[in-house]
Amino acid sequence: MTREPDHRRLLGTFVALLVLTSATWGLSTLPLGSFQVAVALAIALAKATLVALFFMHLAEAPRVFGPLLAVPLALVVIFVGLTAADVATRGATPGRADASQEPLRAARLDGSRAPPPPLRQ
């Protein structure tokens, strides 16, 4: 029950979180191009890690808790990764759906489903 280090650590984490939040915001105004996503997510991950380690006391928890967090995170990466990879590589590889660069928002947007009246019989 040493009180001081605990307090200082929580406060330190808090300040770090605030700084990182401001940093994300600041970086988002820079023209980083496609790096933007990577940078923003990396910072988010760093912040989440801080929260987990210190606010959630993962740093001092029994060892089972590590894998219990790592496995789901790995699954999320794979899930998101392979799903995004599907969309990103459609048409890029010699896939069967080669003529399908995904005109996602094609077709009728007004929601009407009845085929429109033919113009020419």
């Binding site: 029950m1 009180r3 605990d6 307090h7 929580l10 406060l11 984490t13 808090f14 979180l17 605030l18 939040t21 994300t24 915001w25 988002s28 933007q36 996503v37 923003a40 997510l41 910072i43 988010a44 912040k47 989440a48 929260v51 987990a52 210190f54 606010f55 959630m56 928890a61 029994p62 089972v64 808790f65 219990l68 967090l69 496995v71 789901p72 995170l73 699954l75 999320v76 899930f79 998101v80 990764g81 799903t83 995004a84 599907d86 969309v87 990103a88 995904e102 996602l104 928002r105 947007l109 929601g111």
Partner: protein
């Protein structure tokens, strides 16, 4: 120490606390996967049409979103302090911290509601009620569909968290939980941190990467 804290299958409070904590981490693992489905969708659509998603993010309110981020991070700190206070046995302080966190949660929800309200006023309603002019030709509606589902699900979690924090504050106030048995407060805290951590990802995806 009060009696009645130890439940049936456990030998002692330590075992019970350990089991409860483990259970909470399992719930957290489960929650992570819950949101992962929405991240997968987001990633898919962002891959397909990055410009549309960017255009969508430009329509959300960066100011409000960023404020909400600061608020949640702060509330997370409050909860962590509250747990620390209870461990030291300072119940009053713990109650105060917990209530502060719950109040932050309420503010968060208020801001969220304001934001939704603004969107609705601009015709950025979900689904078939979408009525805003759409320079991207339909993609904006899709972005907002995702936005509402993701932030809505998150807001529900915040709401649940606020209620949990309030109950915990009350319990600590009444002396149901104290330094000898902090597990319930810790669990509530863990949950709140999770809700915070998820927002840390929603924020850049829906507000920042415009």
């Amino acid at each position: 120490m009060r009696s009645g804290r130890l439940h049936a299958p456990y030998a002692d409070l330590a075992q019970q606390g350990h089991a409860a904590r483990l259970g909470m981490w399992v719930v957290i693992a489960s929650e992570i996967l819950l949101f992962s489905a929405l991240f997968a969708l987001y990633a898919g659509y962002r891959m397909a049409e990055p410009d549309v998603i960017r255009a969508g993010a430009r329509r959300t309110s960066l100011g409000l979103g960023t404020t909400m981020t600061y608020i949640l991070v702060t509330s997370s700190f409050f909860v962590a302090m509250g747990v620390a206070a209870l461990r030291r046995g300072v119940r009053r302080a713990c109650v105060a911290w917990l209530l502060a966190a719950a109040a932050s949660g309420v503010v968060f929800l208020g801001l969220k509601a304001t934001e939704y309200h603004e969107h609705l006023a601009h015709g950025l309603a979900p689904g078939s009620h979408f009525a805003a002019a759409d320079p991207t030709g339909g993609g904006l509606g899709l972005f907002f569909a995702l936005y509402y589902v993701a932030t809505g699900l998150h807001a529900l979690h915040v709401l649940a968290g606020v209620i949990v924090l309030a109950i915990l504050a009350l319990g600590v106030w009444r002396g149901r939980w104290d330094a000898a048995y902090t597990a319930p407060v810790e669990l509530g805290g863990l949950y709140w941190h999770l809700v915070d951590a998820i927002w840390l990802f929603l924020w850049p995806l829906f507000y920042l990467l415009r």
